[in-house]
């Protein structure tokens, strides 16, 4: 009984004690509103971007999950670049079993002409079973009243086709707008009112605007006229991305042959979509089907099988590249915020050592004094979390605007609960973790300081009189404790970096670079401050005092130097990395962008096309043969690319000489002599450097190909750098001359720039005379891409500004704290006769030197680190931005001086009488 009573008393005592320290912590925060405000703002600025980005990622995940089946349009999709054989179909039927619904689709690019305009479009030829998931929404309801489906109401040939011919999916969701069952609205069936000879066609709004045609009007594609049966607002997989290379049109699959566009060499994708019955696991079925198909084709099948989850993963990867970069920037902002808060807290603790010692003399245990500080940190961390979540609510809605044109129109952002939990973790225990090294000051504090005084400037509480040895031993002890207690903060930073980059290797390297930079900065700072001593002998008194201050306050000068340098480093790093990316995506200078890019030129069309262009005062340039084929093995091992391109078919070409947009960076040029088929020597191969890197290929490696059924072997002799944004015909793989001479092939070519007013006329003439050739308007595409890259750049800048903002808050906090700490000395100087201008000069020299030297070394290191990071993460896209580097050196020096003067201004204006009160 006694024991129970004692336990109860102990618990009650503990609760009372916690209440006491909580109350004390709250009082302390209220009593130090300036510090608390800076701390909270500092932390929340860093956290806000991170939470907003996390919520954005979460919104993307949600969007993809909600549209999981619509994204693929099926549970399972089987795709190939050739028509499916009977054997293929039999395998699919066998594996997937009875009860599946199927829909067939053929996609390719072609030119579509209206009355006045023509445009490259992505043709999606579908049967009446399409879509299996999702629905079509038309521009206005009146259009839905069109009679006639896309295909005639006949059963599709081939096994597995089901009898339901009308468009079904989504009808429940959008009964008013979707194509109604039985309304015979598919454009493949001849339009019944008046123009019975014209099959129907659905256009997306973009295609309708580009061609200047509307519902009921006639358009031409290949050899066939179509009637526009409806203009689409959305279609089954429009929830993926708003950006498409060419606008989409839907036609009936049964009219495909009549267009005459499916001849040899046309780049056509054939697909069969399957909707599985009941609770069959699509992922498992897809894997099973893949295994069966692999068995038939000896490991390298020309058919790919995708489940809806695979499609989701691909899209996730697309967004992942972009948000990965933004995430690393967000971590930088958090790291900066961490530095700022730790620095502020260090100053705060040093200023409150006396009070801590008083508590100790009154009976508080060391652990209880730490608890008091932890409670303060947690309360401020909580406030920072709340503020950062509120800030993120403001930032998050900006993302869809920032990425307009890239993300789907119906994309909605929502705050992620996990983001708020993460923010709470980073804000509450996170701020304790970041400030742990600062607690070292408490561990070395002895209450005897109340009898002897505290050295607050260096952050060291002297337990014993200030002899050199004892001070050094305390500093040493404090340093060891600080270093050890810094481990959790570093560990947290490392985990965040690994998590955000999604790779143990990349996250670790990212982290290691930062850690190494900190160590280097500390070494440089130590050397700089030691060097300052040599210049203290100057006869100019105020400069001497300033330099002596730097040297004598070694610990705080070092901390100031390292923190400013780290802030400057991080502020420079992001823009330096950005430079390279931006330069790469910008329009290349010195390279002439062609006016049109021609695709699918048949060999026999080369000559008449050349004559046609000649008659129009133009020339056909860069005509490059293109043959599709498969890579079958690399260095004797079967090629099975699962991770990078996830495809097996590639385009191959031959060249007389390299284009201006490409340069050999490794190896020798391809042999100019045509390759001899009878020779035992393998043909020579040139690879694009990024392609080679992703497939881990190098010079000397052997590769075998299946080109139109003929096995070919070759050896890599060089790696090329290609400027893809030149818009010239370029290829990942080039073969030695002569290799493709006898292979059935098509050509790619370009036409130089021409006056704007002649463009559409020429394009329409081209389509009329060569209906199978696809014409890409390079100017329009470049503008479209530049628009998107501008948006991406803006989004990247947006996050970089957030990091810079966090850096500036840190810088201001540091300098403000440092000058406040020196107020006693400044007042003393005034008492001793120094004027305002003298004091100002001291502050200017001291912080000007720290800011300038830290900024210079930070910029130099940021150049090296940004080069390394660009090489590691962004395929070596790096260029040196002198302007920003110089500007940041000037800005950091200027901000250091101005902030110091602003912060010191209050002290300078103070009457020296405050010296008497500052006990």
């Amino acid at each position: 009984m006694e024991g129970v009573k004692l336990n109860k008393e102990k618990t009650a005592g503990s609760t009372k004690k916690i209440r006491l320290w909580m109350k004390m912590a709250l009082r302390e925060i209220i009593r130090n509103p300036g510090f608390a405000l800076f701390f909270i703002v500092n932390l929340s600025v860093g956290l806000a971007g991170f939470i907003a980005l996390h919520s954005f990622n979460h919104s993307i995940d949600n969007h993809l999950k909600q549209n999981l089946n619509e994204i693929l349009g099926a549970d399972i999709a089987v795709q190939a670049s050739r028509p499916f054989s009977e054997e293929d179909i039999q395998v699919m039927d066998r594996v997937l079993g009875d009860g599946v619904m199927e829909s067939r689709q053929v996609t390719f690019f072609s030119m579509l002409s209206g009355e006045e305009n023509s445009r490259l479009v992505r043709v999606v030829a579908v049967d009446n079973s399409f879509p299996l998931y999702g629905n079509f929404v038309f521009e206005n309801r009146a259009n839905l009243e069109h009679p006639g489906p896309l295909n005639p109401a006949v059963k599709h040939p081939g096994p597995g086709s089901h009898p339901d011919q009308s468009v079904q999916s989504g009808q429940a969701d959008h009964p008013d707008q979707s194509v109604q069952s039985g309304q015979t609205d598919h454009p493949d069936q001849s339009v019944q009112s008046g123009q019975r000879d014209h099959p129907g066609l659905w256009l997306t709004r973009e295609a309708s605007l580009a061609l200047g045609v509307d519902t009921g009007e006639i358009v031409r594609m290949g050899n066939l006229d179509f009637k526009v049966a409806g203009v689409l607002i959305s279609y089954p997989d429009s929830s993926i991305t708003a950006f498409e290379f060419a606008p989409r049109i839907y036609m009936g699959i049964s009219h495909l042959e009549n267009t005459g566009l499916t001849g040899f060499g046309s780049r056509i994708r054939y697909a069969i979509f399957y909707k599985l019955p009941g609770k069959i696991d699509a992922k498992q079925k897809a894997q099973e089907l893949t295994r069966h198909i692999q068995n038939i084709f000896d490991g390298t099948p020309p058919i790919t099988v995708q489940s809806s989850e695979d499609a989701n993963r691909n899209l996730d990867r697309f967004f992942g590249y972009f948000t990965g970069y933004m995430g690393l920037v967000a971590i930088v902002a958090i790291f900066l915020a961490g530095i700022g808060t730790a620095y502020l807290f260090r100053g705060y603790i040093n200023a409150h050592l006396r009070e801590t010692a008083i508590l100790m003399t009154l009976g508080a245990r060391r652990s209880e004094t730490c608890l008091l500080l932890i409670f303060q940190l947690m309360l401020m961390g909580l406030a920072a979390t709340i503020l950062s979540v509120l800030l993120s609510f403001l930032i998050l809605p900006l993302f869809p605007g920032l990425l307009g044109g890239i993300i789907p129109e119906n994309f909605e952002t929502a705050a992620a609960p996990s983001g708020i939990i993460l923010a709470a973790f980073l804000g509450i225990p996170g701020s304790v973790i970041f400030c742990l090294p600062v607690f070292a000051g408490i561990y070395t504090l002895k209450p005897v300081v109340l009898l002897r005084g505290i050295d607050e400037t260096g952050g060291v509480a002297l337990g014993n009189p200030g002899t050199k040895e004892s001070k050094n031993s305390i500093i040493k002890k404090e340093f060891i404790i600080s270093a050890l207690s810094g481990v959790p903060a570093l560990l947290t930073f490392w985990i965040l970096a690994v998590w955000q980059s999604g790779s143990m290797e990349q996250g670790t390297i990212f982290f290691a670079v930062f850690f190494a930079v900190m160590v280097i900065m500390a070494i440089i700072g130590f050397s700089m401050i030691a060097l300052v001593e040599k210049f203290c002998a100057t006869p100019r008194v105020m400069i001497k005092i300033a330099l002596r201050n730097l040297h004598r306050h070694k610990v705080s000068s070092m901390a100031c130097f390292v923190t400013i340098a780290m802030g400057a480093f991080l502020m420079n790093l992001i823009p330096q990395i950005k430079n390279g990316i931006q330069e790469e995506i910008a329009r290349p200078e010195g390279l002439k962008i062609p006016g049109f890019f021609l695709i699918d030129i048949q060999p026999e069309q080369l000559s008449p096309l050349g004559e046609f262009l000649h008659d129009n005062g133009l020339a056909l340039t860069n005509a490059s043969p293109m043959v599709r084929g498969r890579i079958t093995s690399v260095n004797g091992e079967a090629f099975n690319d699962k991770g990078t391109f996830r495809r097996r078919e590639f385009n191959f070409s031959c060249r007389e000489s390299l284009d201006i947009s490409e340069t050999i960076i490794k190896g020798k040029a391809l042999n100019p002599e045509p390759w001899d088929f009878e020779s035992d020597l393998p043909m020579e191969i040139s690879l694009e450097e990024g392609f080679a890197e992703r497939l881990h290929l190098n010079i000397g490696d052997s590769m075998t190909f299946d080109i139109q059924g003929i096995p070919m072997e070759g050896r890599v002799v060089n790696l090329r750098k290609v400027r893809w944004n030149s818009f010239q015909p370029n290829f990942f793989i080039l073969f030695q001359k002569g290799v493709l001479d006898d292979a059935p092939r098509t050509y790619l070519a370009s036409i130089p720039q021409m006056p704007q007013k002649e463009r559409m006329e020429l394009q329409n003439d081209l389509v009329r005379n060569f209906p199978n050739i696809s014409v890409l308007d390079v100017n329009r595409t470049v503008n479209q891409m530049l628009g998107i890259t501008d948006r991406l750049t803006f989004a990247i800048n947006f996050m970089a500004w957030l990091a810079v903002g966090a850096g500036l808050v840190v810088l201001f906090s540091i300098v403000r704290h440092e000058t406040r700490k020196r107020s006693w000395e400044i007042n003393l100087l005034k008492v001793l006769g120094a004027g305002f201008s003298h004091v100002r000069l001291i502050v200017l020299v001291e912080f000007g030197f720290l800011g300038f030297s830290a900024a210079i070394f930070a910029v130099l290191l940021s150049l090296a680190a940004s080069y390394g990071i660009s090489w590691l993460f962004f395929e070596g896209l790096w260029s040196f931005g002198w302007g920003y580097a110089l500007l940041s050196i000037a800005a950091i020096t200027g901000i250091s001086i101005l902030t110091a003067l602003a912060a010191a201004g209050r002290v300078i204006r103070q009457k020296p009488v405050s010296l008497l009160n500052s006990i």
Binding site: E28, L362, V448, S470
Partner: protein
């Protein structure tokens, strides 16, 4: 000399600090004395004689190289840091020359603080009642809601005295309690201190070089170059 009712026993106390040179500087050399319960004792000596070091060792704020400090039968040098903190809280009251009040707490809150730290011994109402009683005893009833910044030096020291007495310690250690005050205020503070100590029959050790203050004590211990001599 052995006293009846000894409350504090200092045995062969040595304390030295390392120096820049090869030899450490010895501040206290074999200091021995005993103090009886309810005694008032002054420790005097010139600057550098080791007064403050002795005070720090008696309060358990620092540890000696050799020797022991036995308070109420317990050798404080054998205690670990946490035990010492709690022992100090309940057994020793300390008054500093610079007052060392918590700046953000009011006069009453400052007095309540040591009692709040010793949660097991007091309840909240008891703490408030005791703090107000002490404020009345030091004549600061009307200043209870003022923070130290709004109090004069003399008032701050009176709050510090009240705080030191709050937990009814066995012994009160005062380090130059009037050192930061003018003569007149210093005398008033000393009057308050001695009045309270006498009324509670509390043991008081005052470290001072103020001979007038020292003369108010029953005994004086004089330190010279780290060694102590007795004076009546």
């Amino acid at each position: 000399m052995t006293l009846k009712n000894t409350i504090l026993k200092v045995n062969g106390l040595w304390k030295s600090y390392p120096q820049a040179g090869p030899l450490p500087i010895t501040v206290l050399k074999d200091v021995d004395f005993e103090i009886g319960k309810g005694e008032t004792v002054a420790v005097t000596g010139q600057s550098g004689s080791g007064k403050s070091t002795l005070m720090a060792l008696m309060a358990g704020l620092d540890s000696p190289d050799r020797g022991s400090v036995v308070l109420d039968g317990q050798d404080i040098n054998l205690m670990n840091e946490d035990q010492l903190a709690r022992f100090r809280a309940s057994h020793i009251g300390i008054i500093f020359q610079q007052f060392h009040l918590m700046p953000h707490l009011t006069a009453q809150e400052n007095i309540m603080l040591p009692m709040e730290i010793l949660t097991m011994k007091y309840d909240h109402l008891g703490i408030v009642r005791r703090a107000r009683e002490l404020l009345g005893m030091v004549g600061l009833d009307d200043r209870r809601d003022h923070t130290p910044a709004k109090l004069s030096g003399g008032e701050c020291q009176r709050v510090a005295i009240a705080r030191a007495l709050a937990v009814e310690p066995l012994i009160l250690l005062a380090d130059e309690p009037t050192g930061n005050l003018d003569n007149s205020t210093g005398e008033k503070v000393a009057d308050t201190l001695f009045h309270l100590v006498n009324s509670c029959s509390m043991t008081l050790i005052v470290v001072t070089h103020n001979m007038k203050l020292a003369s108010r004590c029953q005994r004086v211990i004089k330190l010279e170059k780290g060694r102590c001599t007795w004076e009546e």
